[in-house]
């Protein structure tokens, strides 16, 4: 199973963290510090796996962002690379050629998408189309709720004029 997902920028800034196993706040920042030290310093042609505290961290760099997933020793590293790529492709479709800034300002959306791909550290959906559809449906639910709210407040505003 995937124990956590990290997105780290090349400068070592954290862009997204998702923890599927319990870590205290202190442990979390220690993990992030340790791993960014290891991963950011690795050369470009090396393999995408780092052995760390009895786990394996699979990482892949996309532009300025490192996508890291920590898995058990016996998990399939190559498959995790595919899962990372799966996530990146879905982000890319959602934002339309995604960049780091998209993920900074819309970090909550990046989380919503991740929640449609992984639950309990396991893969949930292998179809990008399905994920996109589910996210779109929920976004539109939010939009309608907003519209309703603003129309109600308009009505109230008009009524109290």
């Amino acid at each position: 199973m995937i124990h956590f997902v990290l997105l780290i920028s090349r400068q070592g800034k954290v862009r997204l963290t998702k923890w599927y196993s319990p870590y205290t706040q202190k442990e979390r920042s220690k993990v992030i510090r340790e791993l960014s030290g290891v991963i950011l310093t690795r050369g470009p042609k090396l393999c995408n796996f780092v052995e760390w505290r009895g786990y394996k961290v699979v990482y892949k760099r996309y532009a300025s962002l490192y996508f890291c997933m920590c898995v058990d020793q016996e998990d399939n590293e190559l498959e995790i690379l595919e899962i990372i790529h799966h996530y990146v492709e879905i982000l890319d479709r959602y934002f339309g050629s995604v960049c780091e800034l998209d993920l900074i300002f819309n970090f909550h959306k990046a989380y919503y998408i991740l929640d449609e791909i992984l639950i309990a550290g396991e893969l949930q959906e292998s179809s990008k189309k399905t994920v996109a559809r589910l996210i779109a449906a929920q976004d539109s639910l939010v939009e309608t709720a907003k519209e309703q709210a603003s129309s109600i407040s308009n009505i109230i505003a008009q009524a109290t004029k």
Partner: protein, 870 residues
């Protein structure tokens, strides 16, 4: 309106944080935002709750504390609208984890949402539950999740399946409830449901044997094999296609489940042979997705019950992987070969050359894997070429890799060396290349081996002499070299015991002294090396009388050393060289042969084993008190053999009496070839140049004892065990005078209260304590046994055992019959030496055996209530 709560938009906050040039600026911005959010929380501001939560999450991600927002998440979840719930659940998963008590409060909201009519809200609740639920929540909400496994919308079913995984991992008892609904999921067509369903079944099989039996039945297994066949043969499906393969994720999960089902079940393994062969041969291996499937397939083939043909296929795939240019593929190949080696070692041996190349790879992850694999590949027949390769590589390897590499080479050489001379040769090579990376116990072991190989002493000391000329900066090489030169310096100079294979060299006495002098003066030598060099010099002063003057000069130079230990040695040795010519030669005799068996036994007992598989059974326990059950027994037995009456002190022992040094069992070590006179022996002790106190069973190997604390073991090796300066001074006085003065009355140290060490209805044991003057590590314990029963005890025997950091000596008891009803007692003196004096208190296990009306009685106990600082 509150001036803060007008607030900024999320986007603006992120912008202003990003605009910060320094960490201090960022903190200021965050502080201001947090203040605003708190104010909003206090006012129970509903309009901006959504935005505030989003801000908090961002702040949380930057690493600032956000616990004050946790309740806001719960409120947000409890509100009716989808947008509020969505952000609320996100915050819940981000800001809380399963260990927080607050989480309990959300159980009710979760329950309501799991029954909500809006499927997206149900989805949110399932997602949150799957990611952070605790065992209690799992119990409370399992029925809801179970029901949702049959929900009409497949997207809810798949979420419920993953949520069930979390539940059964938290509460394995619940597994059986999920077996039937999970079996239903396997028949689905929707890939999401199928993937999650298969994953659920896999995890069910891991926690419950009942589930494993259920899914092994042909009814289920055939279905799975058919599903895999369908997906392998399925035509192009754009929705699931990755690199020309339809849904590799589904492939992989099916293969994984087949592995779990086939392991240890020949029938089940048979069912899947065909499809595995098909996957192994038909899958394209030019893209990562295909390789991921092949990798999983190989692992399944290796794990299920034997089928020769399939395994050949699998090993061939790994061979192909190993020669791949992509580092990822090579990494997984090495990884898998480690598992394959238990199945088919011969096949893996074929790839030895390639694996050795991987040890030299640029990539640290690959190197590490390859090195571990090489260590598994070593056997008696290939140890020589493999070691040669690795040692050659040691010269050019990265600094940070040398530590690992040397450790592995050393363990390989130690385990498989065909003869001693080869072992010594290889170790010298390693020490000359990477002596600074070698752990202490490795060179300790080398010294033990050298000491045991009496025909190789001359050869070794000459080889070391040569090696040290070129590699003076390798500390552990220098240590071994000066130890050997000190011991066998004469063989170096007269070319004693020359082997045919050696090139003759001529070394003069002063050349040999040069080496030691360089070591003692070298800037990188630490105190251990210097102290060892000092001892070597003392030994050489006797072996090479012509250099005696020069050696004395070198020794004297350290008289002013800032390090107490060196200063002390310098003064003591100087006085031996100058004034005590007559005893010097006996003092510096060669060390007795070190006992290999004891040393290796100790190592095994007190060090975390180097082989990862056995690390779990290491005896390395934190306080050295709690031992596995067997150990105390052994100790007890050992001790009982020491109980033999001790010869009373002979005339030679006056010094010991004077100094209050523990000498009673100064009877010489059984098995040591030389038996120095008791008097010199104690001198040795005092000067700590040779064997540590010749006391009961554990001695000579003590030198090499690698106790848990590495530092202390080094200290012991060199006899550096700290002596309080007062005591040391008095010894020097005595030595200088060398007259049996009557001891100065000394402070007996603080008095310690007596304790009742053991009390049962029938027996009481009390301890009285005293300290011999000038030796704070040693405690004399007067044990008094009193019989509380109305019957006489006969054949009364008291035994005791202590952890390794203590040394225990039992004097004979005053008798073996204990009169009834407290009308008399037995006394016995115990002498305990605490090597961790001041750090660890005493502790002891006892066993008392006696006969009551001709019936054997045994009473055991542990004594933990010793006064502190004994």
């Amino acid at each position: 309106m509150n001036p803060f709560s007008s607030g900024t938009r999320l986007r603006d906050m992120i912008r202003s944080i990003r605009a910060c040039k320094t960490a201090a600026e960022e903190r200021a911005v965050v502080r201001k935002e947090c203040a605003a959010i708190r104010a909003a929380i206090n006012e129970n501001d509903q309009d901006y709750r959504h935005r505030n939560l989003a801000k908090l999450m961002f702040i949380h991600m930057l690493g600032y504390p956000t616990h004050f927002g946790q309740m806001e998440c719960l409120k947000s979840i409890a509100s009716a609208g989808f947008p509020e719930k969505r952000i609320g659940y996100l915050g819940l998963m981000l800001l809380l984890d399963e260990r927080q008590e607050v989480l309990m409060l959300v159980t009710n909201s979760l329950k309501q949402d799991l029954n909500h009519t809006n499927q997206y809200i149900v989805g949110l609740a399932l997602c949150a539950l799957g990611n952070i639920c605790s065992a209690e929540m799992a119990r409370d909400l399992a029925p809801e999740v179970e029901r949702l496994l049959q929900f009409r919308d497949p997207n809810i079913r798949k979420k419920a399946a993953l949520c069930s995984i979390r539940i059964i991992k938290k509460v394995p008892d619940l597994a059986e409830n999920f077996i039937n609904p999970a079996a239903a999921l396997l028949k689905e067509k929707h890939h999401g449901v199928l993937i999650t369903g298969i994953q659920l079944v896999t995890d069910l099989c891991k926690v419950s044997t009942e589930a494993l039996e259920f899914f092994r039945k042909p009814k289920c297994l055939d279905g799975l094999v058919k599903t895999l066949r369908d997906v392998v043969n399925s035509p192009y499906a754009p929705e699931y296609d990755i690199a020309g393969i339809t849904d590799p994720f589904l492939h992989i999960r099916l293969l994984k489940l087949l592995r779990v089902l086939g392991q240890g079940d020949a029938d089940a393994s048979d069912c899947m042979n065909d499809i595995l062969a098909q996957v192994a041969t038909k899958t394209e291996s030019n893209k990562n997705a295909g390789n991921a499937i092949l990798y999983e397939c190989v692992e399944t083939i290796m794990s299920i019950e034997d089928n020769g043909g399939l395994r050949v296929l699998a090993i061939n795939i790994l061979g192909r992987f190993l020669s791949n240019r992509d580092n990822n593929i090579r990494y997984v190949a090495l990884n898998m070969l480690m598992k394959a080696i238990t199945v088919d070692a011969q096949a893996v041996q074929r790839h030895r050359a390639t694996i050795l190349e991987c040890v030299k790879d640029l990539d640290a992850s690959i190197r590490k894997r390859a090195l571990e694999l090489v260590c598994l590949l070593v056997n008696e027949s290939n140890v020589k070429p493999l070691t040669k390769e690795l040692i050659d590589y040691l010269e050019i390897s990265d600094q940070e890799f040398k530590g690992d590499l040397t450790a592995k080479i050393c363990s390989m050489v130690e385990k498989f060396s065909p003869d001693k001379i080869w072992y010594i040769d290889q170790m010298l090579k390693v020490l000359s290349e990477a002596g600074n990376f070698v752990k202490d116990e490795v060179w300790h072991a080398l010294i033990v081996v050298i000491s045991n190989a009496s025909d190789l002493h001359g050869y070794t000391v000459r080889a070391l002499y040569r090696a040290v000329q070129t590699s003076i900066e390798q500390e552990s090489l220098v240590r071994v070299a000066i130890w050997c030169i000190g011991e066998y310096g004469d063989m170096l100079v007269n070319n004693g015991g020359v082997l045919n294979i050696e090139d003759p060299i001529t070394v003069t006495e002063s050349d040999a002294v040069d080496v030691v002098e360089i070591a003692i003066k070298h800037h990188s030598s630490d105190i251990t090396t210097k102290a060892m060099a000092m001892v070597a010099l003392l030994k050489l002063s006797s072996r090479f009388p012509s250099c005696s003057e020069r050696i004395r000069d070198i020794i004297v130079q350290n008289k002013g050393s800032l390090v107490l230990e060196l200063q002390q040695r310098s003064i003591e040795f100087n006085s031996i060289v100058e004034k005590h010519q007559n005893i010097r030669s006996t003092l510096v005799e060669r060390m007795p042969v070190l006992d290999e068996a004891t040393f290796s036994g100790r190592r095994a007992g007190s060090l975390p084993a180097t082989v990862s598989t056995s690390s779990g059974t290491s005896l390395n326990l934190p306080n050295g008190v709690a031992k596995p059950a067997a150990a105390p027994l052994v100790d007890l037995l050992d001790l009982s053999s020491d109980d033999a009456p001790v010869p009373s002190s002979s005339g030679n022992d006056f010094l010991q009496d004077l100094l209050g040094v523990d000498i009673s069992p100064a009877s010489v070590q059984p098995g040591t070839s030389q038996a120095p006179k008791a008097g010199t022996d104690v001198l040795l002790d005092l000067l700590s140049i040779g064997s540590p106190p010749v006391q009961n069973n554990s001695t000579p190997s003590d030198i090499l004892s690698s106790s848990q604390d590495n530092k202390s073991s080094v200290a012991k090796l060199d006899g550096l065990s700290p002596t309080p300066s007062g005591g040391a001074a008095s010894m020097i006085d005595l030595l200088d005078g060398f007259v049996p003065n009557s001891p100065k009355p000394e402070d007996n140290g603080p008095a310690y209260p007596s304790i009742v060490a053991f009390e049962s209805s029938s027996l009481r044991l009390t301890f009285n304590f005293s300290k011999p003057p000038g030796n704070p590590q040693t405690t004399l314990i007067q044990a008094t046994f009193t019989n509380l029963s109305p019957n006489v005890y006969t054949d009364f025997v008291f035994q005791a055992a202590v952890p390794k950091f203590l040394q225990l000596h039992l004097d004979p008891a005053s008798g073996n019959t204990l009169p009834a009803s407290g009308n008399g007692s037995i006394t016995q003196t115990l002498r305990v030496t605490n090597s961790q004096h001041g750090k660890k208190p005493l502790v002891m296990r006892t066993r008392i055996a006696y006969k009551l009306n001709n019936r054997d009685v045994l009473e055991e106990g542990q004594i933990n209530n010793f006064p502190r600082d004994l």
